[in-house]
Amino acid sequence: MNLTAQDEIAEYVEGVRAALGGVPAATRDELLEDLPEHLAEVLAEGGGSLRARLGTPDVYAAELLASAGVSGAVPRQPAGWKEFAELRGRSAAAARRADVRVGPLLGYAKATDFLTLLRPAWWVLRGYLAAMLFAYVFDSGGGPLGLLPRLGGDGIVALLLLGVMVVGSVWLGRRGRPEGLWSRRLMTGGTAFLVLFGLVGFTEVDGDRQDGPAYYETGYSGGGQYADVQDVFVYDRFDRLVEGAQLFDQNGQPIRMGEPFCWNETTGTSPSRNMGYPHCPERAPFRAGDPSASESAVPDPSGDPSPSGAAPSPSESVAASVAPPVPSVAPSGR
């Protein structure tokens, strides 16, 4: 055995010893006990370096640990770590398989190839989300979340903020992955928070858009007997058409029926010039002095003087806010 072989053995043993760093010293010495002797045999046999024959010291140490059944081999890792690492490994493998399988559907070898191309798009979206978050946090106006990052309701400022954030995000993206461990963690945490904020924000804004008009539509004109209502004509107890009438429900919410547009033979459809109902007084179904009106529009001329008694459907609490004596409501069909 020459000096080079001794050096090689010593180096290899040290490598294995270092790889067993997490093992208690007594167990480690036990495991390493036979190693120099064994390595000498391997070298004496010829056929290449120790690394070529046995693999790297790390690999050797891992195999040694596994076959020796040393438990608690790496005490630096907390309990449950192994399960977690296994789970992570399985998830990563599943993700890689999905990556390769989905790729061809998109026209790429791997799905990640395609997603990599989308990275700048994410940078822009990230800038938008950051601007929205900024506006959400610092806008003292307290207005509801819209689609632009408004500060004090100012559209110009919103666009400026949006531009700055998008450019900043793209700049950050082009710099690549941050160097330090903490910068990377900050980046990951920030990204997760932004995505969460974006999801919640989108859901909220979308919900507001959906709920807003839907309240009136489902409640009064979206379905049922009021689906076809385009205009509402209010008559007082003397059969006079009430103009500029406002309708509210029991919660004080305005009841909106029809659209404030009038159709005219000569001008076509034009916006209504009237506040409140009816939108188009000239299309009133009954005229004052019309004999048919007195019978159909006022079902009970001698009736109850209280306004609520005159509402056509008390269960819906429709009540005209302008109340020259007792209004009655006559929805006009299409």
Binding site: D34, L35, E37, H38, V59, Y60, E63, L64, A68
Partner: protein, 108 residues
């Protein structure tokens, strides 16, 4: 299928078996296993297995000074080791028979 997985399961038994008739030191045992046909067996696996069987009380060990090289640590089956070899050997034979039947049935 990975044959090394199969090997891991029977390495204990294989090591006990090659020590049945003659004591041996680590590298010697490795050589016997390879000579018997287990060519893929890893050096570290054999050493780790020896260490585990020794700690499990199935092997005794003694050091033999050597003239031409380092001292050698010999391993020998003790009574517990022989009992284990017999017990585990039976398990293996039963298992192997079942596998043979399964594989033969597959062919037929």
């Amino acid at each position: 299928m990975d044959p090394t997985q199969l090997l891991k399961g029977v390495l204990d038994l294989a090591v006990l078996a090659v020590l049945r008739d003659e004591d041996g030191y680590g590298y010697d045992i490795l050589r016997r296993l390879r000579a018997a046909g287990l060519e893929d067996v890893g050096d570290a696996s054999v050493y780790g297995t020896l260490r585990r069987l020794f700690n499990g009380g199935l092997l005794n060990s003694y050091v033999v000074p050597s003239d031409e090289g380092p001292h050698r640590k010999y391993y020998a089956l003790n009574a517990a080791g022989r009992a284990e070899l017999e017990r585990y050997g039976k398990v293996w034979r039963g298992f192997a028979t079942i596998m043979d039947d399964l594989l033969d049935g597959e062919k037929a």
